[in-house]
Amino acid sequence: MFIINCPYCGEREQSEFKAGGEAHIERPKQPTELSDDQWAEYLFMRKNIKGIQFERWVHVHGCRKWFNMVRDTTNDQIHAVYKMGEKPPIK
């Protein structure tokens, strides 16, 4: 079970958080302009990386804030947490 450093609250147990899938996928501003394929790309296609992955998490049993996290899926090491709208601190 991880310990996650919520950018608003500090270190907390993983059980207080919920994962929310891949980060940095922006909802299209003009969905009506998109073809079925383009919309499907946004809607369904997600990466499942073995290694460094950028993810959304929410401190659901805490401050209820969403934030981003960089996690290595091979060993669950968390390399960074950062607020929504911020650029990832590592590549």
Partner: protein, 1001 residues
């Protein structure tokens, strides 16, 4: 009790306290401190089980948690019964009843033993190959397999014991209280680390505590004496907490560990009562020191599984620790020096050693020379090729090993014995280390896997790190612990150590016999009866990955998790396939390290504490008025209110009729309520609902449908505009939390520019819905000041009001199709307002109704219930609710998905009304709908989602989803049931009052 199986008074057994226990129905005696295994051996009993597949007689083989054979059921048919208890771990107490598992009718005469004779027919994968086909026969096979195999019986009565969970945070966790763990705990605590030391045994000290040998001395004392002194000084150390009888079950990432603390299992029955039996410790440690020791390996040779064949180290523990003699005629069979320690220790106690058989050539070490000097007969470069004795080993046959160790030569020598100690070297207990994500490396010299890469702040020390002699252990300890704890000095740096070091090693994973392997039974996994032959067969049949071989042969899959035989399985695979051990990798060790009871896992979360349940402020009234309840999410909702002698059907029919004829009252407090405020609240609602919200006037209500981004219906409810920038949204009872979560997600991540604030107020308000033709009169009596005229207060509008000076919100909205009013009032006034409504409604026959009637009434009107009529595969168009999807809005959640090629298909499942040809016939919810029953396979068009008998229409009504149902109005379809086929017609889903006249009646 047979005489002379007890020797000298042991320090660890209380020989003044006699304990009586039962095994397989017979009464025996042991002493306080005995395990069931040591007490049985002291009574001359070795045969305690039958093996899983061949039902071969099996005896106690070890003295610890790695025991594969001596698995017993304790406490018979009582609620306290427990299967799969290791006799080597359970401490005896007065009143303990244990029985052999996996043998019928009894351990000495076992019908399943026929499998042993049939064993050529039971090779690896036998169960897979034989019983899998035809699939329809599996149920029949299973019955027989379970009856003749089966490891114990699960209890049938509720567990009467108490369990609990406890969180522990510490700086340093030390796992294992042997010599390494004790030194580590002392060092950490003395350096101001808050330290926790755990050991699975009743006493600290590991194997060193009974190591009284000339060959293991510290500061000129026996290592046992030295350690005893260290242990007694531990209690003076601050910062150190010690828990014995506590085994670590799981080691997760980020140094999170689970351990089971055993509190009462060793106590007599009358002292267990009202105490907590076991505690699950949830430990978060900053640093972890694993000192988990090592497990002695067996040797793999023909017929190596007879009762009386015991690990050499276990024989030593039984005699040195428990004062129990395993056999009077002993042979030790080894590939290393540690069996010599056993031999010398037994010899010193006057126990007869008939021979040591050593697969190595003559060794010239201190300890082997000593064994020779005291006159023990040693056969070097010999191996056992066979054993005999059915219920107990009687004799071994040995032959000279060839140079390469692959065959035997010369003549056979037979030696009598009734106990054979075997030692194949030591396997570091790295299970917890690998669970934590650690990577192992293979050490070719000792043939062991040892920790290589630590995934968290942890270290392995002592024999679990591949250090086997006292000198190396202490030298490495001083060096490694200083680095790990960041300290300059330990108090163990000036110790004077005398210990022997092994100078010659020889390892043969599968020892040869004079017979061909096909005629031999060299067991690798004793519990699952997997032999070396099975592993070779699996390889011949094409299995390569160790994980596959393991599953196919069931090696390592028993309750002992392959603690004994896993290394040999790997070794045999490596030898046979030519792949190096280091390239082969190991199987994954999964938690728990030793089995946990369900009681420990669930702790206090049983019975009424199993899950949280939520009650409305009016709950007590429902209880007082005989309501039956149903669970909706975590809520207990009043389901129906049966009167004396009424069935559920009767009650619902009565309630439904009363609500339409006179007045009904429903507790709707469980509906989710979200308070929405901010200057962009209207815009926000526009984006989350399918319909338009900007023009909703203050004081008006509107029904809304919420979609997922994939276009599927997600939730629905009525939202009211309380003020310019203030709305109150209602959600379904079950969806409240997820809707709030979803809205927050969009607000924070997609639309952070919107000025909107969401607050859950579900629990803040009680919601009382009064409906029916008399509802207006009733509400008028309860709130006389409120103008209820249709002009002033029309359908789908809201008013602020006061009841006895308490503010409330009244919405005129309807889920039943009747004129109805919803009073929302501060929760703690809920019950009194409900009672006021009941009082005011008395003259109009006001009838409380529950969720079942609510469902029936809304079905008469064709209103959907999200989650009952929908299942995340239906769009609003599929529901024939096109009217609620705004054509004008540029965007809302899910809009783009409504015209994907898949969602615009005409033949999607669509919601329709279904009426039966026989109006008395009520369909089953979930029943399949078909058009043609004659054509096989029958095409399923859809299913029934809601079905009731409507008392107001006096006929059966149903809703269902049907492929292309939208264009099937009037079409005849069929519902095939088990013993009949029901004819139905597709109908308009609105069955009652299509013109909505009743809303204003």
């Amino acid at each position: 009790m047979p005489k002379n199986l007890r020797i000298n008074s042991s320090n660890f057994i209380d020989e003044t306290t006699r304990v009586s226990f039962k095994f397989d129905g017979k009464t025996y005696y042991g002493f306080k401190g005995d395990t069931l295994a040591s007490a049985l051996i002291a009574n001359g009993i070795h045969l305690v089980a039958r093996s899983f597949k061949y039902h071969r007689p099996r005896g106690i083989m070890t003295a610890g948690s790695e025991e594969p054979n001596a698995i017993v059921q304790i406490n018979g048919n009582t609620a306290y019964t427990e299967p799969n208890v290791r006799a080597t771990e359970i401490e005896i107490y007065d009143g303990l009843e244990a029985s052999s598992q996996n043998c019928w009718p009894n351990v000495n005469f076992d019908i399943g033993g026929i499998n042993n004779i049939l064993s050529p027919l039971l090779p690896a994968g036998f169960y897979y190959k034989t019983f899998m086909w035809p699939a329809s026969f599996w149920e029949k096979y299973e019955y027989f397999i379970r009856k003749s195999a089966g490891l114990g019986k699960s209890p049938t009565k509720p567990d009467p014991d108490l369990y609990e969970h406890k969180y522990i945070h510490c700086d340093v966790l030390v796992i294992g209280g042997g010599i390494s763990g004790i030194m580590a705990a002392k060092t950490a605590a003395e350096n101001n680390y808050k330290t926790l030391l755990l050991d699975e045994k009743p006493h600290l000290g590991g194997t060193t505590i009974y190591q009284s040998s000339e060959f293991n001395k510290i500061n000129n004392q026996y290592s046992s004496k030295w350690l005893e002194n260290e242990i007694s000084n531990l209690k003076n150390i601050k910062n150190l907490e010690i828990k014995t009888r506590t085994s670590v079950a799981a080691y997760h990432g980020y140094n999170f560990l689970l351990a089971r603390e055993n509190l009462t299992d060793h106590l007599p029955l009358n002292k267990k009562k009202d105490k907590i039996r076991q505690r699950l410790l949830k430990i978060r440690a900053k640093k972890v020191i694993a000192a988990t020791g090592s497990i002695e390996r067996p040797l793999i040779f023909n017929n190596n599984d007879r009762p009386g064949i015991i690990l050499s180290s276990a024989i030593k523990k039984y005699s040195d620790y428990y004062g129990v003699v395993c056999g009077k005629e002993n042979i030790l069979f080894t590939n290393n020096d540690s069996a010599y320690e056993t031999a010398i220790s037994l010899f010193n106690k006057g126990i007869k050693i008939n021979a040591i058989i050593d697969i190595r050539e003559k060794v010239n070490s201190e300890i082997t020379n000593h064994a020779e000097k005291i006159g023990i007969k040693i056969y070097n470069s010999y191996t056992i090729v066979d054993t005999s004795g059915y219920r107990r080993i009687k004799e071994v046959s040995i032959m000279k090993l060839s140079k390469d160790g692959q065959s035997v030569t010369g003549s056979k020598i037979k030696i009598k014995c009734n106990c054979l100690g075997i030692s194949g070297g030591w396997t570091p207990a790295v299970h917890l280390f690998t669970q934590s994500g650690g990577k192992l490396k293979f050490d070719n010299e000792d043939n062991v896997f040892i920790p290589s890469k630590y995934p968290s702040d942890q270290i392995s020390i002592g024999s679990c790190n591949g250090e086997f002699d006292l000198n190396t252990i202490i030298k490495n300890f001083n060096q490694n612990i200083k680095n790990f704890l960041g300290i300059d000095k330990t108090s163990f740096e000036d110790l004077k150590i005398n210990s022997t070091k092994e100078i010659l090693k020889r390892n043969i994973w599968l020892l040869p016999s004079d017979k061909a392997i096909g005629k031999c039974k060299p067991f690798v996994d004793f519990q699952n009866d997997a032999t070396a032959k099975d592993i070779k067969l699996a390889l011949r049949e094409g299995f390569r990955s160790i994980e596959h071989v393991k599953r196919y042969t069931t090696t390592g899959m028993g309750t002992d998790q392959g603690k004994l035989g896993n290394m040999h399985a790997l070794g045999i695979i490596s030898d046979t396939s030519g792949v190096k051990m280091s390239d082969l990798g190991t199987t994954t060790f999964r938690p728990p390290y030793t089995p946990l009871t369900f009681g420990t896992i669930v702790g206090r979360n049983v019975g009424e504490f199993f899950d949280i349940f939520r009650k409305t402020p009016i709950h007590d009234w429902h209880v007082d008025n005989n309501a039956e309840f149903e669970n909706v999410g975590q809520w207990k909702r009043a389901w129906y209110y049966p009167k004396k002698g009424e069935s559920m059907f009767d009650a619902v029919q009565r309630e439904s009729k009363a609500a339409r004829d006179g007045a009904g009252i429903l507790d709707a407090s469980t509906l989710g309520k979200i308070d929405i405020q901010g200057s962009d609240a209207s815009e926000f609602l526009n984006r989350v609902y399918t319909n338009a919200w900007s023009k909703l006037a203050i004081g008006k209500c509107r029904y809304g449908l919420m979609l997922n981004e994939d276009g599927m219906v997600y939730d629905d409810g009525v939202t009211t505009r309380l003020n310019e920038n203030h709305y109150i949204m209602t959600t379904t009872t079950g969806g409240a939390a997820t809707v709030l979560g979803k809205l927050e997600d969009y607000l924070q991540t997609e639309w952070p520019e919107l000025d909107v604030y969401l607050t859950s107020v579900t629990d803040h308000f009680a919601t009382i819905s009064v409906c029916g033709p008399n509802s207006k009169k009733i509400v008028k009596k309860v709130i006389p000041d409120l103008d209820l005229s249709d002009e002033e207060f029309p359908h789908m509008s809201f008013k602020n009001a006061k009841i006895d000076n308490i503010k409330c919100r009244v919405m005129r909205i309807s889920f039943t199709g009747e004129q109805s009013y919803e009073i929302n009032i501060q929760a703690n006034f809920g019950k009194s307002v409900w009672e006021k409504c009941m009082e005011a409604g008395k003259e109009f026959n006001i009838t409380p109704y529950g969720t079942e009637t609510m469902h029936l009434l809304r079905a008469e009107k064709g209103f959907i219930i999200v989650g009952q009529d929908t299942d995340a595969t239906l769009t609003p168009i599929d529901l024939q609710m096109n009217w609620i999807v705004s054509k004008k809005k540029y965007d809302f959640i899910g809009k783009r998905s409504l015209y994907r090629s898949d969602t615009i298909r005409e033949d999607r499942k669509q919601l329709v009304g279904i009426v039966t040809e026989d109006p008395r016939e009520v369909l089953e919810e979930g029943a399949q709908i078909v058009a043609d029953v004659s054509k096989k396979p029958v095409e399923m068009l859809g299913h029934i989602t809601s079905s009731y008998f409507s008392p107001n229409l006096n006929k059966s009504i149903a809703l269902g989803v049907v492929k292309g149902g939208k264009n099937m109005l009037g079409k005849k379809l069929f519902i095939p049931m088990k013993n009949k086929i029901i004819s139905v017609h597709v109908a308009d889903p609105v069955f009652l009052d299509k013109e909505n006249k009743r809303l204003n009646a």
